[in-house]
Subunit: 223 residues, 2 copies
């Protein structure tokens, strides 16, 4: 019997979360190893498992997979979550890339910034989310009309969108931003209700959104 | 008969080049429309074809595809350039992502920077290329031993690697950096000799590496 997929990463959602959500949609059990110190990071680098010395690492099917977009595409192929037709495949890839950009532009990255730059970074992140990304996803969800971004089942694009939208819903810093985007708000509930996802979100395996302590640990371990 | 794929972008390699190289490997003819002013960019945005208001755009199979990694994956699927086994698929995705990072970290992006920051940016780009990326690709090419990164045919990862390595070979700023990485140097020749690629590289469709005039035009058109 094949081993469970193993994720090696820091103790947070970060760049591993989209893959964790793909596993959750499929209700696939995984194991995790958490890097909390720089010594541990050096040790895992020395194994040669990290092609570009990056985390997260997913060990699966005898492969050491790094780089989050590569992981999303590999798992998407394995679990048939890349769309069913050429048209769907193209849209899934665009919306996967767009969701990842949305997350990197509007996600709570300000925890990793010096105190004096945070207020501006937070304001700009929220503003770009409101004007540049949320209107596009609101439109796509409205037009598709199934509760998911493409077709009628969750794809890797939905996992990446849920990653950022669930953060926006949970964190008071975002000021209920989703109230103005009802389809996006409903999407969070629809995705959360997928049985494997529900189980995952209610488990201790789902990390809380980032905070200062998390940012401090990650900086110490990986930088 | 299906129309030729159409690429809409600025007059340079930039984010369209990996897709152009995929088409070249397949010897697929494309048409191009070039955006040289901000008015033209606003006009294409107004058509609604650009999901996240980004270029390049590829119109293919009735789809308006934006985002370069999405384009790479879509075309890779269409032309069977994503690897043939699970192991190959995983490696192609990692090396595609790694080549794109390599390009964004070590590519000639300094043309887009203010004059006073250029020297440092150039130095850092070259240093990171030498220490962080080239040794990995040198090792992968040595171990695979076919002249390509994965398996024995060009995949999207090879197209993305050629994009940055050909720049390094052509631009005097890189000081013959590839001389210390013989497998990478040989790869540029192997890839250039693919019949469709050879035809493309010798045609007026292949843009030269970026220069000041190009950077000025792009800034005026897209920013």
């Amino acid at each position: 019997m094949a081993d469970k997929p193993k994720i090696t990463y820091v103790r947070g959602r970060g760049l591993a979360e989209v893959s964790r959500l793909i596993f959750a949609v499929q209700d696939v059990e995984t194991t995790e190893e958490h890097i909390t110190t720089n010594e541990e990071f050096q040790k895992i680098k020395a194994t040669g498992k990290l092609m570009f010395n990056q985390l997260p690492l997913i060990e699966i099917d005898g492969l050491c997979l790094i780089e989050s977009q590569a992981q999303g595409n590999y798992l998407g192929h394995k679990y048939n979550m890349l769309g069913k037709t050429d048209l769907e495949r193209g849209r899934v890839q665009m919306l996967f890339a767009g969701s990842n950009s949305f997350n990197s532009v509007s996600g709570p990255f300000w925890f990793f910034m010096p105190a004096e730059a945070r207020a501006d970074a937070k304001k700009s992140a929220i503003e770009k989310g409101k004007t540049r990304y949320l209107p596009v996803f609101e439109k796509v969800l409205t037009e598709n009309g199934t509760g998911f971004l493409v077709g009628s089942e969750a794809t890797i694009a939905d996992c990446a969108l849920f990653n950022i939208l669930s953060c926006m819903k949970e964190m008071p810093e975002y000021n209920n931003i989703l109230d103005n985007f009802p389809q996006c708000k409903a999407f969070v509930d629809t995705f959360s209700a997928i049985p494997g996802v529900k189980k995952y979100l209610e488990s201790p395996r789902r990390f809380p959104p980032p905070d200062d302590a998390y940012a401090k640990e990650v900086r110490a371990a990986l930088y």
